[in-house]
């Protein structure tokens, strides 16, 4: 075989090899995210803890010491309480975390995001939240039966008025 056709053949081989590498790694190997009988529990919401100390009414004497343009009836410290959240599934603790309020003055709200694989099917879900240093234990609770289909997301959110909101259950 003369040199030129051989060279073309080798070039074709190299291009084919290059494209084979590109084609294979563009999609393979695939990754497994969930088993067939698994679902996902996601807890995602933002919440600001209660103020560490309640507002205090200033006395007349204290008010008199303040400049006229800065006289407020109440003194409200900015610092907020850390937020503790716990999720139990069928009695087992799945997630428990205490989040410190962000910000220089620890006065910000916390963002909660947690996601975990759980077995699909029927479960007993118990949620608890503490957002005040002045209270012991959870000052907000929710406990209910849930049923989750495979590959679905059981989403726990939070509403300031009604408390925990669970969506995605069958």
């Amino acid at each position: 075989m003369s040199r030129q056709p051989l060279r073309f053949l080798l070039q074709a081989f190299n291009y084919a090899l290059f494209m084979a590498i590109v084609c294979y790694f563009a999609t393979s190997p695939s990754i497994r995210i969930l088993d067939d009988d698994e679902a996902v529990l996601t807890i995602a919401f933002a919440h600001a803890g209660q103020l560490r100390e309640p507002c205090r009414r200033l006395s007349q004497e204290e008010l008199n010491q303040l400049p006229a343009n800065m006289r407020r009836l109440e003194d409200c410290p900015r610092e907020r309480s850390p937020v503790t959240i716990e999720a139990r599934l069928d009695g087992e603790i799945l997630y428990r975390e205490t989040l410190q309020p962000p910000g220089l003055f620890e006065d910000g709200g916390v963002d909660i995001y947690f996601s975990a694989r759980i077995p699909a099917g029927d479960h007993r879900l118990a949620l608890g939240l503490n957002d005040s240093v002045r209270e012991q234990g959870f000052n907000l609770r929710l406990e209910r039966d849930v049923s989750i289909a495979p590959a679905r997301v059981l989403l726990v959110g939070f509403d300031q008025k009604t408390g925990f909101v669970v969506t995605g259950a069958e």
Partner: protein, 512 residues
Amino acid sequence: MRVNPVKRAYLALESWFNLSFGTDWNPLYHLGTLSFFLFWIILVTGIYLFIPFHASLEGAYASVEWMTHEQWYLAGVMRSLHRYASDAVVVTILLHLFKEFASGRYRGFRWFSWFTGVPTLWMVVTLGITGYWLVWDELAQYIAIGSARLLDALPIFSGAMTRNFVSGGMNDRFFILIEFLHLLGQPLLLVFLLWLHVKRLSNVNIHPPRGLAVGTLLALVALSLWAPAVSQGPADLESVPRALQIDWFYLNVYPLLEVWPPQQIWMLTTGITVLLMLLPWLPPKKKEPVAVVDLEHCNGCGICFEDCPFDAITVQARTDGARYEQEVVVDPDLCGSCGICAGACPASNPFRSARDTLETGIDMPQQPVDDMRRQTREAVAALSGDEKIVVYGCAHGLDVDRVARADTAGVRLICSGMLPPTLVEYALKQGADGVMVVGCRENDCYYRFGNRWLKARFAGERKPTLRARAERQRVCVHGAAETDLRAVERDLERFRARLALLRAEREEWVAS
């Protein structure tokens, strides 16, 4: 001479491609230009895809499906070309990185190109990630949540980003932001980084040889027709895909999120990035002496300015009051110490001031032109035999001392491009029957243009030219790496035979 295993592996790959493509089309010699060519494909196909694409949560997936299945013959092929060219460019960039590392072309004065190349690679990767995001299929959902988790782990974000990707949290405005990033923000930044990456080079070429470009395009089209790029199921934030086909060229970090917290992934990627960027100084390379201009012998012709591969020479108005209008200045920070400028200077003529020290307009302190002339004279004087050959070799290719014998002497140069053509003439005049120049492998000069300029000078296409009085049949140029001893010896043997034939013809002519 010992060649390290990484370089040996690279040279073997290079030899294979030289065998397949020849030195003109060898993809390893055009990895930069090939990457630019792939960017052109990505740009053109991207502009076409932008027209039918609907940038909204509701419309994105459907519009991409329409392109893929309804107008498969055009938009579908464009989509596949867009994706596969994007994947191919990661391969060419990684090979480019490997090549420069293996051949030691990332340290010393080259630090800037290497240093700026690392963020360029990351920019390409992030551009690919936002591209996958736009399809808004299950894979897009997976990388959107993964990216948000990674970003939320950084102290500059509040931790709220991931919540965008729970049911009902995502909106069209966020989607349009990603589209803006992918279509304008990131490409502009990439162009800026690419400009920065090649800023310290002269004669920058961004076009690969036509044959290589056509071959690559045909291969990509064939792949696009054979295995069209398709979407996975539509994104649904209320469910999680069980399995995904991911693009490992761009999304290789995401599966790590299943096993590591985001902070550890940042530590890993940042660590790799910092290590790569610091490689040029691990350990620091000793700075070689740079080119020195001698205004007494410089007439400001500017040939060295034209030939400098690293943009280290500038031309400015004369400062010494001489009758010439211009002079050249060397920027020591940019100079690669290759000596190509010394070979370009018309004053580097060994026939000038034959008895005194040969001084030239621009010279290398570590191997002045006068030294080259002395080495040539001594080498020729020591030769014996019927065909006396002087072999000039560059310091980054084959060690020419390995081919030395009674009738063959080697003279080492910093770069083959620093050989003034008149020195070849000088060697023949001193009594050599032939001159061979062994530079780096053809089209792969360590200093970019050494062997190319040398050939052009010998062919009379570039100043200073090899004059007609030097018989062309007695001059031979060979490109060789450190491992190419046999090939050089073979070429040398053929050269000897040619010189012997010339000698026989001359003797016959004299006798007649």
